[in-house]
């Protein structure tokens, strides 16, 4: 029995659409699985001999120490801009005394870890993907392989662990400097009372709020380091391939940080409810 041509055409079209969706979802799941395995294998190797703690320190210097300047600069201006917008809003409802605690909660729990993650993923993650990609296309990784050096242990694991360790430190710096920006705007520019500013923050912000942000930042560090090293490690196709790997590594890392942040936020909220923490 032959169907109407228009129905057949629609059926073919839907067939192609669903096949495309199926392939995309399948490839996405495979990629996530592959990256997870890649990260887990690399981290396992960190605890097998020969230990690469010197390499970890070297990468911590690059990811952490060399990001201090950019984090300081961006965090101060983030604090200034955010505080001003919150001040303008709260002024309408006569609640300007709450600018400090509102900004502090927003920074420590959300903006601090997320913006630090985005900045460090772009700077250090991009550099990781480009460096590893270049090593791959220039046969330097093959050279390590045939020298009997485990490339994942030597190149990947130290970078991942360095990112995980550095991200909470950089986030703490971001939080502090953003609050310096907030203080400057509230006290020095719009002339709020500094005693009230401090008191309201002390009343509102708890240690677990700060820890929440630091915990999330470590997860973001793990994510961008695994994604960028994975992309760099699996580069092919010469200079063009290096460019693509770097681009994809950074873009996937940034998008993932923003998406995962939402789910982490909810998971942490559920944990607080179950543990009876917070209000």
């Amino acid at each position: 029995m032959s169907s109407h041509p228009a129905i057949q055409k629609t059926a073919d079209f839907l067939d192609r659409v669903f096949l495309g969706i199926k392939n995309t979802v399948q490839n996405f799941i495979l990629l996530i699985g592959d990256m997870t395995l890649f990260g887990a294998q690399s981290l396992r190797l960190l605890f097998t001999q020969p230990y690469r703690y010197g390499e970890v320190l070297k990468h911590m210097e690059f990811i952490g120490n060399q990001s201090v300047g950019i984090i300081t600069l961006t965090s101060i201006f983030t604090g200034l801009a955010l505080s001003f917008q919150v001040y303008l809003g709260f002024k309408l409802v006569n609640a300007v005394n709450l600018v400090g605690p509102t900004v502090a909660l927003g920074i420590t729990r959300e903006l601090g870890p997320v913006l630090t993650g985005l900045i460090v993923a772009a700077r250090a993650g991009g550099a990781m993907a480009a460096r590893l990609g270049t090593m791959r296309v220039n046969e330097q990784m093959d050279a390590l392989d045939v020298m009997g050096v485990n490339t994942k242990q030597y190149l990947i694991a130290p970078r991942i662990i360095a990112a995980v360790l550095c991200m909470p430190l950089l986030t703490a710096l971001f939080d502090f400097m953003a609050m310096v920006g907030c203080w400057f705007l509230c006290i020095k520019i719009v002339g709020l009372d500094d005693a009230v500013f401090y008191e309201k923050i002390a009343q509102t912000v708890e240690v677990y709020h700060i820890n929440e942000g630091l915990f999330k930042s470590a997860i973001f560090g793990l994510m961008f380091a695994v994604i960028c090293t994975y992309k760099g490690f699996n580069t092919s196709g010469g200079a063009k391939g290096v460019g693509e790997a770097t681009n994809r590594g950074v873009v996937i890392s940034m998008v993932s940080i923003i998406i995962i942040d939402y789910f982490l936020m909810n998971l942490i909220r559920i944990y607080y409810l179950m543990a009876g923490i917070g209000r």
């Binding site: 020969p50 046969e139 093959d142 050279a143 045939v146 020298m147 009997g148």
Partner: protein, 257 residues
Amino acid sequence: MATNYKGEFAIQLTDIKKSFDGGKDFILKGIDLKIPKGSLTAIIGFSGTGKSVMLKHILGLYKPTSGKVEILGQDLSLFNSDQLTQFRCNYGVLFQSAALFDDMTVLENVSFPLEEHRRHLKKEQVTQIAYEKLKMVGLDPKHYEKLPSQISGGMQKRTGLARALALDPEILIYDEPTTGLDPILTEMVDNLILETHKAHQGTTSVMVSHDLGAAFRIADFIVMLDAGKVLLSGTAEDFFKSDIELVKKFVGKGMKH
């Protein structure tokens, strides 16, 4: 390899087949190859005949779809990845691009394998050995503290060879060592390979090359690949006497250069 050869073989490939697309298309279509211990063997062939893929099987970087790879009497398929990594200390490889680590100096490049695998050695001993290897390949000490980007292509090849020799490997592999080099540099690298082989008696050297002239001049044995199979293997004389059309064509072209 040489049918009348009765000694040990360093490398034995038995019916190696390799496909990257689940068996639709085979790059290697049943390679049988035996490379005698202590020989200098050249693997030649046109581009796309499977030379590099075969080399990666010898190095254990690829696993064959079917067949057996035995290196120094050990079946590579029986190794797990950690054992394979350790086993690779038996190799020294000079890559086409030299593949030097660009963030390390010449001396650090040569010291690196020693620091990785001779951990009992003191820093001074490592440096001493690295100096000896660099001297052996004829690199002037004034270049030892330079980065690879600060030295010429020929010097990079010398450094790459010194690094390949650092662990005194049993198998030395040269992956298209003269591709893209000018004739003078090509001759220099060929002579370096020959001198290194003579200076390291017992080491098995395998050179993958397009350069037939060099293969005839320096190799003990020559293997020619075509379409994923061994077309002919033997001495230079066997190649000159061969009636195979493709061999005659290749020999003719090789001798013109």
